[in-house]
């Protein structure tokens, strides 16, 4: 008697959100099964990988990343290489330097960089800010305006600034809106509802439900994603059916395992490999928990996660 498993296919599905334009446009979401459960039903769109670049250039990156971008000096050149990275589906530009407590790059300068990058690539573009809610609100509005017609994703609108960000990106300039909340299903839902009440079509919203590096409060990330997917698919909660995008690189490369030097931790071995494995293992775990896209930065991580996704879908 062969094994007869019950199918775990759901009647509800995650909404499909498209970012970018033309041949290289990317579809996120669309599935009606749990992550990688292809044995229940085909996965509509395989999870996607974004390659992270920042307005700070390459100076602080590890050797493998510098090597990959060797010869690229302008933002346009760096972005071009990022989109060509084997396994990459889209490019993510993060304005780390916009932080008023850091470099405090002006909004005008940021807009200029965003335009340079946007014009250089044909792959979809995702914009991240500096996490300062006031600065991000202004920055995102101006960048959304400057990149009209490119269907970029603005990541993210948060509880504190969603009105400005979602109105500009989602209503005025026809871009996609990322809704960022702090590892809690209720917060995620509430923000989606609020953004919807502004008049933004929910089909234009992607969520970032929070992230952490493996080992650093990651159980909350797993449980939040598990619960969001259960609510979206099993209970058909339309306010949680947005695809999820998770920034992994920022978290992974900032924990001790990736930062401690070989001189400090001789028994731990290569620092770069530690960073790669932290990035890869965190990414694999968030994909298994329900992310429809991850943001990474090391070429080896991008290649490996791309291989993992291909093997599973």
């Amino acid at each position: 008697m062969p094994f007869t498993g019950k199918s775990g296919k759901f009647n509800a599905a995650i909404r499909t959100v498209e970012i970018g334009t033309g041949d290289k446009a990317v579809k996120l979401g669309g599935e009606n099964v749990l992550p990688f459960y292809t044995f229940d039903a085909p996965i509509e769109n395989a999870p996607k990988i974004g390659v992270l670049i920042t307005d700070m250039g390459l100076e602080n990156e590890v050797a493998g990343i510098k090597d990959y971008y060797a010869g690229a000096t302008t933002f346009a050149e760096i972005a071009k290489k990022a989109e060509e990275m084997p396994g990459a589906d889209f490019v993510v530009l993060r304005f780390e330097g916009a932080d008023p407590n850091g470099e405090n790059r002006s909004v005008e300068d940021c807009v200029a960089i965003a335009k340079e990058v946007g014009d250089a690539i044909t792959a979809p573009l995702v914009i991240e800010g500096c996490k300062n809610v006031e600065k991000d609100a202004e920055l995102f509005s101006k960048v959304a305006e400057a990149l009209q017609g490119k269907n970029v994703l603005i990541l993210s609108a948060r509880e504190e600034n969603y009105k400005a960000v979602a109105a500009a990106a989602g209503l005025a300039y026809g871009q996609k809106v990322g809704a960022e909340s702090a590892v809690d299903i209720n917060l995620a839902k509430q923000l989606n509802v609020l953004i919807g009440q502004l008049g933004v079509d929910q089909a234009n919203v992607v969520m970032n439900v929070g992230s952490a590096a493996a080992g650093y409060g990651f159980e909350y990330v797993v449980s939040t994603m598990d619960r969001v997917k259960a609510a979206a698919l099993a209970q058909g909660d339309v306010q949680l059916q947005m695809p999820i995008m998770t920034p992994v690189a920022d978290e992974a490369w900032n924990v001790k395992e990736a930062m401690a030097s070989e001189a400090d931790m001789p028994e731990w071995g290569s620092q770069e490999e530690r960073g790669i494995d932290m990035e890869v293992e965190t990414a694999a775990a968030v994909l298994a928990s329900g992310s429809n896209a991850v943001i990474l930065k090391h070429p080896t991580s991008v290649a490996t996660i791309s291989k993992l996704i291909k093997a599973l879908v």
């Binding site: 094994f3 019950k6 459960y37 044995f39 493996a214 080992g215 159980e219 930062m259 890869v280 293992e281």
Partner: protein, 450 residues
């Protein structure tokens, strides 16, 4: 099949004698059905009733013990598919594979011991060895390998479908309760006899999920329920599909034939690609691997992995906290500098680890912050200038003379307010990440500031 309360009630004596602690037999039956009370609490159940019920109320997934002494591990026994529904109970155990045909067996055994460290009070190391039998090298070479491996203090898993080789291998290691991962459709009767005779757990495999199911059912029919299920190495996609489906069938659909722990060999699924193995081991740690086999484990792979496992297998109902108080480190005394952070166990562990590495005598002040991380506590209002200054005035000022306080970089905004509330204290803002503490403290020391 799970029984309903009414079915159980029919089998009770219906005397309402209350000895079970429930007011009526009906109330008792309802509680048993929910899993809230053990059947054995009623002393008056008939033999037949017990036999019927113990089968039906058995947990959906068996709890299996392997290894002995310090290397004894519990696998399985899970009751939920997602950790937030209750909690996961048996963490996956990691194994490194060695084959009797390998040239460098000694080096591999040595390498398997390399990763060994502590994380928040838990020892992190490769717990098992997955030892593959190579027919070309013969039985003696395999027995040699087993003998060498037996000294490593790790639980052995014998990857061997040859009945004679399995017998010979068990003859030298069965007392250490290894797993014999060797039953398949062609040999299961003989293998089951060998495993039962030696008193060890038997691993089952099949060409696909159907064959795995049939062979497992056949073994159960022979009376062997001490099993683990090898999900196969046909492809990553297949192995994942099998791992998820057997767990789901057991827990959700009460299909007890699949109610056993799993063995996943990611080393074979991504041979020669350690980074891909890192990705896969992470995937199967989140999704239902019980014994996960890799070709090797170095620190780069291990550090995120053991952190992930520790996170995912914490009980969601119990926050990991440390006691508030003053923790002197590196021989710190009343004249040593003070640093403060939250009572979240992970944060305490990371920060105190770095402080110890710095060798600088200091007092680490742990405030009650509800067991939350620095930014979470700050955002929740549980780490504030008031909470810090109050704790210091009440608990630290009477005991410590030094008036320098270092605060976490992530809450640099608190500096001004704390200084205002703590007259006489100088507040110094530390870097964001604990890993930067060693250099930071040494610089302060060199400048004569502490």
């Amino acid at each position: 099949m799970a029984l309903k309360g009414l079915d159980i009630f029919k089998l009770t004596p219906k005397t309402n004698c209350k000895e079970c602690g429930s007011p009526t037999c009906m109330a008792f039956a309802m509680k048993v059905a929910q899993g809230a009370v053990e059947l054995s609490k009623c002393p008056h159940m008939s033999e037949e009733a017990l036999a019927t019920l113990s089968e039906a109320t058995a947990p959906p997934m068996k709890t299996i013990k392997v290894g002995t002494g310090e290397a004894e591990y519990t696998l399985g026994g899970e009751t939920v598919l997602c950790r937030h529904e209750k909690t996961f109970v048996s963490k996956p155990r990691y194994a490194v594979s060695i084959c009797s045909a390998d040239e460098d067996i000694d080096a591999k055994l040595e390498a398997a011991k390399k990763v060994d460290y502590d994380r928040i009070g838990e020892r992190m190391h490769v717990e098992m060895l997955y030892l593959s039998y190579c027919a070309d090298k013969g039985v003696d070479a395999y027995v040699e390998l087993i003998k060498k491996a037996a000294d490593c203090g790790k639980t052995l898993v014998l990857d061997c479908t040859d009945v004679e080789a399995a017998k010979a291998a068990l003859a030298v290691c069965k007392d250490a309760k290894p797993v014999l991962d060797g039953a398949d459709a062609s040999n299961y009767e003989a293998m089951s006899a060998v495993a039962t005779e030696a008193g060890v757990i038997l691993g089952v495999r099949g060409a696909d999920i159907n064959e795995l199911y049939d062979t497992t059912a056949a073994l159960e029919k022979l009376g062997n329920k001490n099993l683990v299920l090898n999900v196969g190495t046909a492809s990553v996609k297949d192995a994942f599909a099998t791992t998820v489906q057997i767990r789901r069938a057991a827990l959700k659909d009460q299909n007890r034939t699949f109610g056993y722990p799993s063995i996943v060999n990611v080393g074979a699924l991504a041979a020669g690609d350690p980074t891909m193995q890192a990705a896969l081991v992470s995937l199967f740690t989140v999704k239902y691997g019980s014994i996960i086999v890799m070709e090797g484990m170095d620190y780069a792979q291990a550090l995120p992995l053991y952190g992930l496992r520790q996170n995912v297998f914490t009980d969601p109902q119990k926050p990991m906290k440390v006691e508030p108080g003053i923790y002197p480190l590196n021989g710190g005394d009343e004249n040593s500098v003070c640093l403060t952070t939250v009572d979240f166990a992970l944060t305490y562990f990371v920060v105190s680890g770095e402080l110890e590495r710095s060798g600088v005598p200091c007092n680490l002040i742990i405030n009650d912050a509800g067991g939350l991380s620095v930014l979470t506590a700050w955002a929740a209002g549980k780490l504030s200038s008031t909470s810090v200054s109050k704790f210091i005035q009440e608990n630290v000022e009477p005991k410590v003379k030094c008036r320098k306080l270092i605060i976490p970089g992530k809450v640099a905004v608190l500096k001004g307010d704390i200084e205002a509330k703590l007259p006489g204290w100088e507040v110094i803002v530390a870097p964001n990440e604990a890993v930067q503490l060693v250099k930071f403290l040494k610089d302060l020391q060199a400048n004569g500031e502490i």
